[in-house]
Point group: C2
Chain length 119, copies 2
């Protein structure tokens, strides 16, 4: 398997080991991981730290050019919030482990696929 998807899965496993929802992500710029993250909804009672958001946050502020030259790997299809973040930062490529949704109707309706079809 792709090393970067492996790294995203390792993040999901780390989240699971913490008692959290096992979803992980890594942000990769020109072949190097610049941010890793996993869902922290349970661990931190967070409403916004999905795996993708956590990876973006852990990457720190980057220039627009870095985002435009990056790939986001994530173990589960991003929800509307993470999809919006991906669009905001202009990340041109997202590699998804599982193209399901987490059972949230909004997540299903407004996933990355439908958003990118519009824009």
């Amino acid at each position: 398997m792709d090393n970067f998807m492996q790294a995203a899965i390792a993040e999901a496993q780390a989240g699971f080991a913490e008692g959290g929802i096992p979803i992980g992500s890594v942000l990769v710029h020109r072949g190097a991981v610049i941010g890793r993250g996993h869902n922290r909804r349970v661990q931190q009672g967070s409403a916004i730290l999905h795996g993708e958001m956590d990876a973006l946050e852990n990457a720190g502020r980057q220039s627009a050019q870095v985002y435009r030259d990056s790939v986001l790997y994530t173990t589960l299809s991003p929800c509307a919030m993470s999809s919006g973040a991906i669009l905001l930062y202009g990340i041109p490529r997202v590699v998804i482990g599982e193209n399901a949704d987490a059972g949230d109707p909004a997540s299903c309706r407004l996933n990355i696929t439908s958003l990118l079809q519009q824009y």
Copy 2:
């Protein structure tokens, strides 16, 4: 002026006093503020804590019904990321102080208005 927009502006002012980007938001459920926040991009080097995101995070995890019965007040038109979060949580009403954008082309193209027109 509406008390809740005043509270959002107070958050923007607090952010400005910290040396940050002056954008503030409050999440209001049935007439009570349940989350306050402001942009923390400068203060925390955050890529995800826009005012709306900070207010959602500070409100903590809420039930779907609470979000569906809430109003988000924000001093500036939400970007794609915050708009995605609003859609994810099904917040039915957003009151915007200024319907401009912060100069980000993605923010301009993918703001709450355009997203809500699609869905």
